[in-house]
């Protein structure tokens, strides 16, 4: 876990911005602000050198959702339909890109450890979650393996059959038991200090930036009320 020379903001700061702005987006009714949020996030993602292809695919996948909410307000909305339609259509993308500034630029591990360092997230929670994230990949493998081992025994599990998922749940439960035992024998102790090799610098100005952005958004959304 060496220090990562990552471009961009600290994961904790990104989380704070995401939550702070995201919560306000739900109450602000402004297409202009949604678009500004989208553009800033997009610029940040490109600055962090996220592959443009990845971004395009992500934006395309969300298109039906955005069009869907837009369309339903046009069809069934009351009051200023057009305004509502554009608010809800653009909101999908504002949320998507806001989430992406965290998830596409920082690894899950970094996010979790950063939060435990700077936001006092419990370590048991962090490492439990990390271990289960790593388990997720194995579960995907196991999915295929269970189907195959059943076929060898003359049984066919279709993806829509609950028996298949029951098997996976049983397997995952046993894994998690084993993992808990292993982690404890490797010295992991709930509520006791550990040392860290993971460095996650968080300069003060970044807190200032996060606070500034959130307050700026609040002021713009609830005092200026742009369209």
């Amino acid at each position: 876990m060496r220090k990562t020379a990552r471009k961009g903001l600290n994961a904790t700061i990104l989380t704070v911005i995401m939550l702070g702005v995201g919560l306000q987006i739900a109450f602000s009714r402004s297409v202009t602000l949604n678009i500004i949020v989208m553009l800033i996030c997009l610029a940040y993602l490109l600055y962090c050198r996220v592959a443009p292809q990845k971004l395009i695919i992500m934006l395309l996948i969300a298109l039906p959702l955005a069009v869907g909410s837009w369309w339903s307000f046009i069809m069934f909305g009351v009051g200023d339909r057009w305004h509502s339609a554009w608010i809800y259509g653009s909101r999908v993308y504002a949320y998507l890109l806001l989430g992406a500034i965290l998830t596409l630029t920082v690894q899950v591990k970094e996010i979790l450890i950063s939060l435990s360092l700077h936001a006092k997230l419990s370590e048991t929670f962090v490492y439990g979650l990390l271990a289960s994230f790593n388990l997720l990949q194995r579960i995907r493998q196991q999915f295929k393996l269970i189907q195959y081992s059943a076929q060898m025994r003359g049984k066919n599990y279709r993806p829509w059959q609950p028996a298949l998922y029951l098997r996976i749940i049983i397997v995952a439960l046993h894994w998690s038991e084993d993992l808990a035992e292993a982690m404890s024998s490797q010295g992991f102790s709930e509520g006791y200090p550990r040392t860290r090799t993971f460095e996650d610098p968080l300069p003060h100005w970044q807190w200032g930036l996060a606070l500034g952005i959130i307050i700026l958004y609040f002021w713009a959304a609830f005092f200026i009320h742009p369209w």
């Binding site: 790593n134 025994r153 098997r167 040392t195």
Partner: protein
Amino acid sequence: MVRLAVSNLTFSYGASRSPIFDRLNFDLVQGSFNLLIGPSGSGKSTLFKLLAGLYPEYGGIITTGTIQLNNQEVSTLVPYERARHIALLFQNPSRQFAMRTVEEQLTFALENLQLAPQSIPEVVTATLRRFNLESFRQQQLLALSGGEQQRIALATTIAMGSDIILLDEPFANVDQAGRQKLLTILKELQVKYGKTIFICDHDLTGYQQLVDHLYEVDAAHKKVPEISLQRLTTVKKELPVQNRLDKISIFNWQKLSFKSSSRVLLKPHSFQLPKSQVGLLSGANGSGKSTLFAALSHQLKYQGAVYYKSKASERIRLKRWAQIVGVVFQNSTDQFIKLEARAEINLSRQNSLHPLYWTDARITAAIKQLQLTNILDHVNYQLSGGQQKKLQVLSMLIMAQPILLFDEPLAGLDAISLKNVMQLIKKTVTDLEISSLLISHQRAGVTELVDYELLLANQTLTLEEAK
């Protein structure tokens, strides 16, 4: 120095179940090299988990007695304090990794022990170098072979620098050369650094010069007495493989080649698998033995062609192919479909490809031969490692696909079980004219029963000539 002592211990997995140990007294001599043997299911792993303080927290009840580390009850210690003194390597390596990569896993353990952050990368480097695993540092654990995972798990355990090191079948999936090297490292840890080593193993090869104390679980009296080192001199020697490769075949591959994460494991190779014979597939850890099985069973993409009865297999649907090629997985639990042993066997019997051969009487006899009679009502996951292996092998033998591929079916089996499993495999293969390949790192007691040996090395398969 630390003292680990068991006194008057009675332990069982449930209030209504009979105890595994009954008023057990056991004392590990400090700075010694110890070996524990005993039949599958006799409680070896249970003893290790008790000594490591995991039980009763993670299962079972202690009705009498104590397990004390320096006069303190071991299960009441905080995990990181305990781990400084006792480290335990579990039987199944793949289930003890919390992190994603080799480096992260080792770092995780050392951080738990509160080593100074500056020194952690150094300890990781030194450990990986000692075990000759430096090239694995950034690799994902999930992508490693079973044997490689086992070596990483062992390295993690050793890196923690605990005084007492408990190793539950640490070499079950490790090749012979690797095994000897690891044993040398462990001996060095004992002699130079005064560590107490306690290993549980079924394969007694290579221990004769190393072991100070030998223990055997006495399942009848529920005790763990020390026995004479004499036992190690009676270790079965490996006998040469009889090269009896037959020409009659219904299964062959032409110009077969495959890769695993961009590493070429097999260059174009052709071979026909003989009928009614058992072939030994050998090769070092990570050489691609399991991957060959994955290719032949269509679980992995490959180049070239695999033919069954002169028909290209690539055209056969997976569902049908699963009834032609059967694989006994390295991880027993991957094989299980049902919850209990009896249901597992019944499922195979219902769908067996040779229902006339596998009569009730024959199945009952096989169950008895594999000493599974008493555990038929137990939950598969709660069986011991060896019992799981035997149940798994039996289930697949009853299915009796025309091609059967056994991936380490003998790992973790005691001598008697090993003999019985091998005999059952051999008899079924001959009676039902099955073509089979078997991977096994344990060679003593195996080589004389196989018909030929294929060695996977340098990205090719070669037929080993009888020496």
